[in-house]
Symmetry: none
Subunit: 194 residues, 4 copies
DNA sequence: TATGAATGAGTTTTCATTCAT
DNA sequence: CATGAATGAAAACTCATTCAT
């Protein structure tokens, strides 16, 4: 009956949907969600405006799917940085964050600016809260193992610090001394005598 | 009809202009610049739409003026926190930042989200860079005086940290332990033995 | 302060709003609600598309207002046809209906086609039911006074008959013998011996 | 692959085409022609969007075919209600109409709302005029045979009456006393002394 | 100075129709 | 014969900006 198999259609759908999502990620990230028009997403994805509405109910749903997609990606990350040695794992995390800031700043920009619009996008709030808390927990556990004082407070400090660095490097761009800060933090948190 | 002196006109201009600016600050801060319409600003300022264009060339110019206004305000702050004792001054700054986060989160939200749109608003970039640098310089100077190691790095760390705390408290809202972090940082940076 | 008085603005609003409503009435009546675009209404009203949304929240709201407007007009009609003699009053009503069919067929077309879409426009149902019932009641009262047999049934018959005539004359247009039927009904219902 | 005979293909065509037509009838009738999308027809017919264009040149052609189909059905009806006794035949017609109103109100709704859009669908006008006229002729002949006065006028009255009843029962739905009116009309037109 | 009606370009969204397979 | 992904033109709607008063 079908000229294409179910699988073939599924592949096509997946491919197109991804093209759109990636285009949206880049544009929402650089220009901001509000300032990006659906037409722009369509052009960048090399797809017709109509097709976007074939895959996404609305502009906001693109954002939602994007968020879902980014979350799913993050699971993989945590597995990558895992290590038995808490200091090594902390270093992995730090290095990963800095690498991301260098290579995927659009994504950070998007997440950051979305986070600020928590009030506008209801679907963001709870996931973000959960995420931050899970990071605090992870950091606290690692810091406890490394024997640092006030691990609960320091966990929050590191969390805020990384966010702050991300933020400032987004604003300052090339001028921000990512390398220098990276080494300094690794030294400070991961190379101290036990 | 009623002949007004130049001064009276000036006062009226000043008053109307301020009402508009304050309304814009609140709305841009809470809803975001793009998501706020000029009409909304007019309503909140209890002023007609037309009047806004009497004082500001365009919506973007409201933002620019707002930015100018906020900058001018900041000069006053620096005078307030000044102190001969570097540790005391650092504490003043920290306490000031936390107080602002508690009371003027809209303003922070606005500045933060604008900062992320540096690409869109050209007029923002240089002033922001200058500001961050002047803060780094100030922190470095204070930290040097307190005899802390690596004052240049730590200056950037504190800068990023404060931004990060601001960011996370904006996202987490009531759930963020501002008080706890405030005391911890004051202890850590301003109460250490010399 | 104001360059125009409140009253002046109110007049302007009233005038524009009416222009739009009248244009909508004609187009919705002739082409149907769904088949008429807001742009077309704007052109016919000689007004910009934007202005329509200044006065009406949505296309559907134009319809709602139109309905309200038409209802309010009808009150006047009932006063016009009133007469102490029930047969005369019945005749007045009949003649009024036929006159409307001749002169305002768009309006009938609109009401008729809307009535068929009761399911789509919730706001229509109850008012329409009320209207039909009030007509039944009026007819029954008049017929009772004229001493006709089965006035309750005949009231419904007349109601349906008038609707049916309206419908068929809309469909057949010029070909429908409105004059002939009008005289026949007047003779039959209003000139019978008591 | 599987070689099919011409007859088999014809059967398939007929079946698919009918499924589509029936789905269209239901949707056009309930939601209206404009408000129904081709996709919806496809879903309801459990057929792909593309297939519809295999059988029908356009959305409007579905409507045309539907109309043709309904017309062809009606021929059967006339045979069913035929009777040598004119009063009996008139009763059969009345009873048939009321039965349809009770069971196939969608179809009535569709025909009624289409009739109102005569201007939009050219192909409707002439057939509808012919149909109405043929009904008038039939009624007039039956009424003449029953010896009623003014059979030409009464034929039009009955025609309009039935349309009006249909219309009002569509609008009022369950609230309309179809049974009561049916009996009344049968008594009035078919049980009168000769 | 102040008003708000009016505009029009741009945005999101829908949908009949085409087409490669 | 059958599929559903893809298109593009047009629809509903928004909003910064202008302008007569």
């Amino acid at each position: 009956m079908s000229p294409k198999t179910k699988e073939q259609y599924e592949e096509i759908r997946e491919a197109s949907s991804n093209k759109i999502l990636m285009a949206a990620l880049e544009l929402f990230g650089t220009k901001g969600y509000d300032a990006t028009s659906v037409s722009e997403v369509a052009s960048k994805a090399e797809v017709s405006k109509g097709l976007i509405y074939n895959y996404f109910q609305s502009k906001e749903h693109i954002l939602q799917q994007l968020f879902t997609y980014l979350n799913s990606q993050e699971q993989d990350v945590l597995r990558q940085v895992e290590d038995d040695d808490p200091k090594k794992m902390l270093e992995n995390i730090l290095r990963y964050v800095f690498a991301e800031l260098r290579n995927n700043s659009d994504l950070w920009k998007l997440i950051t600016s979305l986070a600020l619009q928590v009030g506008k996008f209801d679907f963001l709030h709870q996931p973000l809260v959960n995420k931050l808390n899970s990071y605090y927990t992870l950091f606290e556990s690692l810091l406890t193992q490394t024997g640092i004082k006030n691990p609960d407070k320091e966990a929050k400090v590191i969390g805020a610090l990384l966010d702050g660095i991300g933020f400032q490097s987004l604003v300052l761009g090339k001028d921000y001394p990512l390398d220098e800060i990276e080494e300094y933090l690794v030294q400070k948190y991961c190379r101290n005598a036990t």
